[in-house]
Symmetry: none
Subunit: 101 residues, 2 copies
DNA sequence: ATACCATGTTAGCGAACGATGACAATTGCA
DNA sequence: TGCAATTGTCATCGTTCGCTAACATGGTAT
């Protein structure tokens, strides 16, 4: 699922919150924000502070990720990053065994 | 790549902007924000308005997505990750300074 | 019907945003 | 080295955030 607007975020937050059986007051208390802020976030308020939004998504176990492979700046021809990609998860896995998820 | 904090977003924005050869003023003009706002965003300002941040990422062709499958599995497991998260990009950045392009 | 709970709305207030403009510091190139 | 472009910092100002408190609305069960 791709997030383009604050409305997308609002819908996602509401779904995830309800999926856990939490009230707006529950989530607000966990985040240390007011219930009013949760109401407005779920309504798609686009002036909400990004730090609070990220904390909300983290609290709801929603990993926010970007796929730079499909991103468009690779078009330019010049290489985006001269340092080779390193998958730290694989390195850790080989050293210590499987990562619990 | 997973975005957890505003610092992650700041680093990403800076990398993508430079990858396109844009100045801060260029990006600011495209977004209709001040250059100061771009400076602070790239510095990881966590009080930036989420709507503007999403517009910045869209302008830089960075698709923001969530993987609800892994989110569900994270919830069911006893612990999400026993090994501390390591951001290899930040390690490289701090060790080498800005990446030349 | 009514008691209860969750959600939505409004008003007022202190705090902080984002803008502008100017200047300093840094980077890159001839 | 020296110059120009880019980036970082600061002060000020109008606007708006997020908070608290109170009240309204909607759904549910007894």
């Amino acid at each position: 699922m791709i997030l383009r607007t604050s409305t997308d975020i609002g819908n996602l937050v509401r779904d995830r919150r309800k999926g856990r059986g939490w009230t707006q007051a529950d989530l607000a208390k966990r985040l240390g924000v007011s219930r009013l802020w949760i109401v407005q976030l779920e309504q798609g308020k686009d002036t909400a502070q990004v730090g609070l939004v990220l904390r909300a998504l983290n609290e709801l176990d929603v990993p926010v990720q970007v796929d730079l492979q499909s991103a468009a700046s690779m078009r330019s021809g010049t290489s985006y990053r001269e340092i080779p990609f390193v998958d730290i998860d694989n390195i850790i896995r080989e050293a210590t065994g499987p990562i619990k998820r």
